[in-house]
């Protein structure tokens, strides 16, 4: 074989490789950033054009990133009160996540994805879902079942959400010391790297870890109460209180159940700590439990950070949450022609969980980027040797184009969630909702001895509402 023939063969192999990376990789976020793809979906949700959004997301049902797209679709369907589709979408997410866990420890498809990620960027690795997102999937699925009057299925889902959080906590405890050591080590080597992300501390500092969710525990508690399992409800309310001690509604629920269950020691302790009044609904009253979800989860942007490899600085793209703390605006609720029911109180800051989740992943991301730098340099060198300066130029251009940060996360999640819980007299009530930016109303039925669950989601100026009596 002549040298020129050999060259053209290598060139061919190289081109085939690039084409397969460009076209073959199923992940569609390699070259178009994920937030850009989801932006139109958000606009459609705000305009209540749910079907259009569902149709767009439907196209990604079998993508490598199906977990991500189906989370968005499940959420969209939920806002449309299309519970059947939402249940299906989240079911697919849960199945895909379980399949990921069942994968062999060394998996061929994983290795292939990691390989193409090495030549392009982290977007080539199929999205597996952050721990806080997995918890939300189970919680939202539980709410889907709750609003479809299927309490038993809702109980199963909140139990899974609980297990998800416990597993994450156990793993977290084990990793914590390890990770701290590693990140210190890395920070020493790459000071510019840790400096670039220092701004995220303010938002991340509001949570202890990225996955423990008081909102999930609270919903779980409400469902256990509906199932007439006050002891289990008490355990979840207590957990919610531990994570979010300032929420006055959770304080009241913990005190109320401590009294009801005869947990004397707890009752005395909480009574001293929280000066709230315990109110139990009257004979002709029912409870209204209102969940208010506000805004959208934060969006990652890209930051270029110089990384030192072989004492040579190279600019590398990293994802970052560049936003500052968004103070949650509350929802004021009043009965039409009647008194105010009060305002909601925050129970989860998704913005902080998302930022914390990214922080926890930074050390691993840095390690992968260093490998990628080396791999890309090697590729350009090989291309230059085999195909001449033109091929090297092509490879370099490819390297620059493909150097994109992984900006994927579940974007239709709310920025924060809040709760409100009051007793109302029996009958139909027209509730007036006001969030400052978004205003609306909903008519709910109140039945003595039962709970009316109301969900209000605010996206910009639009309110999406749903209610059920259980």
């Amino acid at each position: 074989m002549g040298i020129s023939a050999m060259r053209s063969l290598i060139r061919l192999v190289f081109i085939v490789g690039v084409i397969s990376v460009l076209g073959g990789c199923a992940s569609s976020s390699i070259f178009t950033s994920y937030p850009m793809q989801i932006q139109p979906i958000k606009m459609q949700i705000q305009a209540k054009q749910y079907t259009a959004a569902q149709t767009t997301l439907e196209k990604h049902r079998n993508d490598a990133d199906k977990i991500l797209y189906m989370m968005e679709r499940g959420r969209t369907s939920q806002l449309a009160n299309d519970r059947k589709s939402s249940i299906e979408d989240f079911k697919q997410v849960i199945e895909a996540m379980e399949a990921n866990e069942d994968k062999a420890i060394i998996s061929l498809t994983d290795a292939a994805a990691q390989g193409s990620a090495l030549l392009t960027n982290d977007n080539a690795i199929p999205y597996a879902g952050e721990a806080y997102e997995r918890v939300f999937v189970h919680q939202y699925q539980a709410m889907n079942y709750l609003f479809s009057n299927n309490l038993e299925a809702a109980r199963v889902e909140v139990k899974r959400a609980g297990i998800e959080q416990r597993v994450a906590l156990n793993a977290h405890e084990d990793e914590l010391a390890d990770a701290e050591e590693k990140s210190r080590e890395n920070a020493d080597k790459n000071k510019s790297f840790s400096d670039a992300f220092a701004a995220m501390d303010a938002v991340a500092g509001k949570v202890k870890n990225s996955f423990q969710n008081a909102y999930t525990f609270y919903v779980s508690g409400v469902i256990y109460e509906m199932l007439d399992k006050p002891n289990d409800a008490y355990i979840d309310y207590k957990k919610a209180l531990e994570i979010f001690p300032d929420n006055v509604y959770v304080q009241k629920d913990v005190l109320r159940l401590a009294k009801q269950l005869g947990m004397r020691q707890d009752y005395d302790l909480y009574k001293k700590r929280y000066p709230v009044e315990v109110v139990t609904p009257g004979v002709n009253e029912g409870e209204v439990v209102l969940f208010f979800e506000h805004g959208y989860a934060p969006i990652k942007t890209e930051v270029s950070v110089p990384i030192f490899v072989d004492n040579k600085a190279q600019k590398v793209a990293f994802p970052i949450y560049a936003m500052t703390w968004i103070e949650p605006t509350t929802l004021r609720v009043s009965v039409a022609g009647g008194a105010s029911m009060g305002e909601t109180s925050p129970i989860v800051y998704v913005q902080s969980m998302a930022v914390k989740a990214l922080q926890e992943k930074l050390p691993a991301m840095l390690a992968r980027q260093i490998l990628r730098l080396v791999a890309k340099q090697e590729m350009a060198k090989t291309a230059g040797k085999a195909g001449g300066p033109l091929a090297q130029l092509g490879a370099n251009i490819f390297n620059i184009l493909s150097e994109n940060a992984d900006r994927r996360n579940w974007l239709t999640l709310p920025n924060d969630a809040q709760i409100l819980r009051v007793s109302l007299p029996e009958g139909e009530h027209h509730l007036i909702l006001n969030n400052g930016k978004a205003k609306g109303s909903i008519t709910v039925k109140v039945v003595p001895g039962k709970k009316t669950v109301v969900r209000v989601v605010a996206t910009e100026k639009t309110l999406h509402t749903d209610a059920v009596v259980m």
Partner: protein, 203 residues
Amino acid sequence: MNDVIKTMSSAVAVGVLSVSLVGCAGNKVSYGDAGAVETTTTDFGSTDLQKMAEKMVDSILVFPPIVDVTKKRRPVMFVDTIKNKTSEHIDTESITDTISSRLLRSGKFRFVDMTKVASVRKQMAFQNDSGMVKESASVKMGQQIGAEYMLYGNLSSIVKRNSNTKDVYYKFTMKLMHIETGILEWSDEKEIRKTKKKSMFGL
């Protein structure tokens, strides 16, 4: 020739590698011993449940006054809920189920099931009031036997941890009350301690 051998050997290597990968593909599912000691985490697990139930049943059956009472007759008991004072969801009904099954199988006690009163009432109403069941073949109302004893208890835990040790202590207390007199006839407790230490070196 050398090149050919090289190519061939690498082809063989690839073949062997892929065969070995395919060969071990597929996860394994197998049956285990339900009574085997389980120590995956410090959370409440199957072994704790079995130990607690076993201890309580053994204790109640050999307690002299109970042996006396159950010599000639089989008293009727009902199981109240177990108060879960821990910070995790524990299926306390499952503990009482195991205890009541074992007590029942000992042949010393009989039980009434308070969780099924609503269903029984519905069935009785159907038999007696619906007009569809032959009167001679329907069960009579007001013939049930009231429980003489009530079995109840508490489950509590203390969790302590520092950076490399987690210690969980469970205490399960059970009491047997004679309902008519309010006297506690028997009581016992079972303690379980689980400690998890992080290894200094690991994979």
